[in-house]
Symmetry: C2
Amino acid sequence: MLEIPEERIEKINAHLLSELHETVGANEKMMQAMEYSLMAGGKRIRPLLLMAAADAIKKGSGENFLTFACAVEMIHTYSLIHDDLPAMDNDDYRRGKLTNHKVFGEANAILAGDALLTLAFEVMLRQKNVRSSILMAAVEEAAVAAGASGMVGGQATDLESEGKKIDLPTLKKMHLCKTGALFRASIRAGAILAGASSDRLNALTRYAENFGLAFQITDDILDFVGDEKNLGKPVGSDERNQKSTYVTLTSLEEAKKLSEEAVADALEALKIFGDEADFLRDLVKFLLERKK
Amino acid sequence: MLEIPEERIEKINAHLLSELHETVGANEKMMQAMEYSLMAGGKRIRPLLLMAAADAIKKGSGENFLTFACAVEMIHTYSLIHDDLPAMDNDDYRRGKLTNHKVFGEANAILAGDALLTLAFEVMLRQKNVRSSILMAAVEEAAVAAGASGMVGGQATDLESEGKKIDLPTLKKMHLCKTGALFRASIRAGAILAGASSDRLNALTRYAENFGLAFQITDDILDFVGDEKNLGKPVGSDERNQKSTYVTLTSLEEAKKLSEEAVADALEALKIFGDEADFLRDLVKFLLERKK
């Protein structure tokens, strides 16, 4: 049973705002557009994962890396703004609110995304209490995950595949890049910042990859069977858009089985940890029960 | 008289390509789109400035920072791709070649820009032969320059000002952000990487700010009186688009005078340097003679 870490989420939300407002002399409309999407009610899974990975390596250290965790959420937010653009997925709503370009216009939405991506790197460098060389290794994780072999590449492949039937390995590779890469980087960065040994880093990486896989499969399942009110977006859009998903390429049954296997493998990877990894365990198990 | 450093430019071009192709497992179309704009014949002013600033601090050290210099050019290239987009300036040509979105489509152009911006940070971290703490200070310069209080903010203000008459201070502030910030960051990063003392860093910063100003004013003059063939783009577009420029807000005469004053102040700032800053001197003087 997952206990939602409300207090930590509040800290993340407050810190996101304070890091954003460190920016001085910025264009005002830009700041509004950035804040709009940053505070649009995300679940903060990536910063939570980063801090939980640090906790797993060094109990209680997670909060030390709040700054870096917020930077990762900024990368996530920028990617949502750009993915929603008319030239991309052309979505009017996100989490039940109008998308950035619907409120601020297309040009400002592109720029707000650009600014958030840039700010993310600035904020990472503000992370205190860690040696420069270690910090740089963590920043590199984020940069590689966000780039052409990660999130951007995954989105490009996704656009190429539109209206086409792709096979399961291609789908898996696409999601590994599009959403998996940033989950992986969040967890690895948290572990690196907390000083993980290579075997523990490897174990958390295996956890992360399975987490990303289970997250995506359950996302596809939710689009197929979910409740529109819970999700804050229309369901069945994948089917209408003839999008290849784990459900459409296999079956609802098979997709459920695949997600359960991924969760089991993620838990297996955590075997070398004690109760300091309990939140990571609860979080990946929760994916099988989530309603949004 | 400026002697074009052809050899150094060739090194920059070769290194840009090799850094780009370090990316493994990337989406192929993305790599093509990134390479298209990166190798579209830029003048490489920013990397040249970065290396020249390093040379001014420590003679002959410029080439050591080729990697970081290329990262700055990637930031510049990303900004051109996004500025040209239909939702922004809607330009079909850039340097006499079709703009990125005209060749690869709007979605891919947005993504290629995102990927280049991200890659820039990855490449900065690949810079060798410098202490981590110094490297981080240089990365911070680039991040701040690229963000909401720099390039992105300037572009947002530019879009807001479209079709409106703005005053000279607003125009100056806008360009200080939109183009000035990255010139400034290039020069400061080069100086920081080469281990500049604070008075030398301050002198180069003053040079940089005047360089940026002179660059923008001469750019506006060229749009007014330049030769379409030399420029590779139509002239008079500022006037047609009712864009406020140094020429339209003052006069051709006054704009020329302002650019000469900026160049003089840039040269004044370099007084504490010997011949190790000669390239910087020649480059800023060249702005008054440039034809493209």
